[in-house]
């Protein structure tokens, strides 16, 4: 959502305007990006490696010095004491002292935010229990598994009850079960009012969780829109059909437009709005029973690859416009 589109009554958790950053050596990380995140939003900031996501999050949380432009957190200049008080950062890399005990890491972080120790101890107990780390509270950071370390980063970021939680690839390298429990926890936080900005490579999660999305590549915003509207822009979708009977790779054995993957699997590609009824009817006429049907690639992934891959770049140049709803 661009700043101009924001409702006058809605408070922005984050406003970024013409933000630029060039690293020493001339690498342009951000080339004048602008977007806003509304209070209470669950916002996805997606992009390939090196696109500028972590730089953006670093500037917002005060870890990266901006080149020019504005970044405001709940109206406060990013990097200011007021802005930092509002933000909880879950970084991509483990950045706690591995020799400290889990509970000490949390209580110290709360202390840096000026919280009384007694309150911090209570808060750490609550968070560690919710995230399943309570039994590990006396363990050193280095003794934790990868998933536990990720959870610890989340707990640490939440110690001071931030209004804006910035998650930079928080589930990288985490097993499926742990990832699900983490998302469940974070969704609960969002429902309770915490604004969340998420950067992830798990696009299906971004699609399921996030309300709004921005796609960044080469330091520029390619898309900045509502997730539902964005997903509607998918032009074609490919489905994988599991067939009970054997299918043959000739015109009589499969519906037109379908591709035989193996003797019990077909792939069909349909245009936006076309629907699958025609395909199912055709299969029915041929006496083929569909046991299962799934999208080959999730819609967000399809759009993401299209925009940030070589084809996407050509398309962007050809149209001359960024996708924006």
């Amino acid at each position: 959502m661009t700043p101009g589109m924001m409702s006058e009554t809605a408070e922005a958790a984050l406003e970024i305007t013409d933000l630029r950053k060039t690293y020493p050596g001339g690498v342009v990380a951000l080339d004048g990006i602008s977007f806003s995140v509304l209070k209470g939003d669950f916002f996805a900031l997606l992009g390939p490696n090196g696109a500028g996501k972590s730089t953006t999050m670093g500037i917002v949380s005060g870890l990266v010095v901006r080149g020019s432009g504005l970044a405001r957190v709940f109206g406060h200049d990013a990097g200011s004491v007021e802005a930092k008080s509002c933000i909880g950062l879950v970084p991509q890399e483990f950045n706690f002292s591995i020799f400290e005990k889990v509970e000490d890491i949390l209580v110290q972080q709360a202390g840096y935010f000026g919280m009384p120790r007694r309150y911090a101890l209570g808060r750490s107990e609550t968070l560690l229990k919710k995230l399943g780390l309570w039994e590990k509270r006396h363990a050193q950071g280095l003794k934790l598994s990868g998933g536990m370390k990720r959870k610890l980063l989340i707990a640490r970021a939440l110690m001071h009850e931030p209004r804006l939680l910035v998650l930079d690839e928080p589930t990288a390298g985490v097993d499926v079960e742990t990832r699900r429990s983490m998302w469940e926890f974070i969704t609960t936080l969002n429902k309770a009012g915490t604004t969340i900005i998420l950067s992830t490579h798990y696009l299906e999660e971004a699609e399921q969780l996030c309300k709004n999305i921005a796609i960044i590549d080469n330091g520029t915003i390619l898309a900045d829109t509502n997730m539902r509207d964005f997903l509607r822009t998918v032009a074609r979708e490919t489905y994988v059909l599991d067939i009970e009977q054997k299918v043959t790779d000739d015109a009589s054995g499969r519906p037109s437009g379908a591709v035989v993957v193996d003797e019990h699997t077909l792939e069909v590609t349909v245009a936006k709005g076309e629907g699958l009824n025609t395909i199912f009817k055709s299969l029915d006429k041929k006496g083929l029973t569909v046991l299962g049907c799934r999208a080959k690639q999730n819609r967000l992934e399809q759009l993401f690859v299209g925009m940030t891959g070589e084809n996407g770049k050509e398309a962007k140049t050809g149209s001359g416009d960024k996708v924006s709803a």
Binding site: S61, K84, L89, N95, Q109, G111, Y112, G114
Partner: protein, 257 residues
């Protein structure tokens, strides 16, 4: 951040630093105790008796203030440079950088941590010295002012080293090639009045000379250099390094990309 919150943040960082000193006491407290005991044994008992009095005091009594000061300044420096660089290396420094702690408070926390270690080690070395020579005190106020300011100066200098260090070698280069020679040539083991005039003049460019002599004045009432001048040098160094450290952290030099 309100004043009460800043105070809690300061105590948290100080507590973490002091906790680290005691957690790894074999690396932080024990080495100085052993080294200084050896100095006292060798220079006090084995050799000291054969050396003539220095400015009216036995040789061991003469070197005690310098050895205490040497322990204070090296430990203050080493604590902050290694701890700060360690936090940089592990990236746990980001815990502070994302917090609302102002830069001056981060500097204050690390400096206080370095001072704590320096003063603890100083107290240990003083206690060990009592086995070799009775405690003499000329002016408590001078002792306190000089030891506190010296530990502050070297903590701030250690922080400067920690900020600029890119690898572990960078943390050990300054103590090895700068601090140790300056300390040994700073009048810990001798009076500079024994040196030829040229070397006396050169020695006066060494700030550690003023710290050692000011501290010695507090114990024995003797000094090779003006104590007030030493105090001025200490205050100037302290303020200069404080301003520089706060500026560097505020700008994120070698901390923020």
């Amino acid at each position: 951040m309100r004043a009460a919150q800043q105070w809690r943040a300061f105590l948290t960082l100080l507590g973490k630093e002091v906790g680290r000193v005691f957690r790894i006491w074999t690396q932080t407290l024990l080495p100085s105790a052993i080294t200084m005991t050896l100095y006292f044994v060798i220079f006090g008992s084995f050799i000291g008796d054969r050396i003539q009095d220095m400015q009216g005091h036995s040789y061991v009594a003469f070197i005690v203030p310098g050895l205490i000061m040497m322990a204070v300044l090296t430990n203050s420096y080493a604590n902050v440079s290694s701890s700060f660089f360690g936090n940089k290396f592990q990236k746990s420094i980001e815990e502070l950088l994302v917090s609302p702690m102002p830069s001056w408070l981060i500097v204050a926390g690390y400096t206080a941590g370095g001072m704590a270690r320096g003063l603890i080690v100083g107290a240990i070395v003083t206690a060990i010295s009592l086995f070799f020579v009775p405690l003499q005190v000329h002016a408590w106020s001078v002792i306190v002012v000089f030891v506190v300011l010296t530990s502050a100066v070297f903590s701030l200098a250690g922080l400067l080293n920690g900020i600029y260090a890119r690898k572990f070698d960078d943390v050990s280069i300054v103590p090895t090639f700068v601090l140790t020679p300056l300390t040994y040539l700073g009048g810990v083991f001798y009076s500079v009045t024994l040196l030829p005039l040229v070397w006396q003049q050169i020695s006066r460019l060494n700030p550690i000379l003023y710290m050692v002599n000011g501290f010695r004045y507090g114990f024995l009432g003797i000094s090779d250099v003006p104590v007030a001048g030493g105090l001025m040098i200490l205050i100037t160094l302290c303020l200069g390094l404080l301003v520089l450290d706060v500026y560097l952290i505020e700008k994120g030099v070698r901390l923020k990309s």
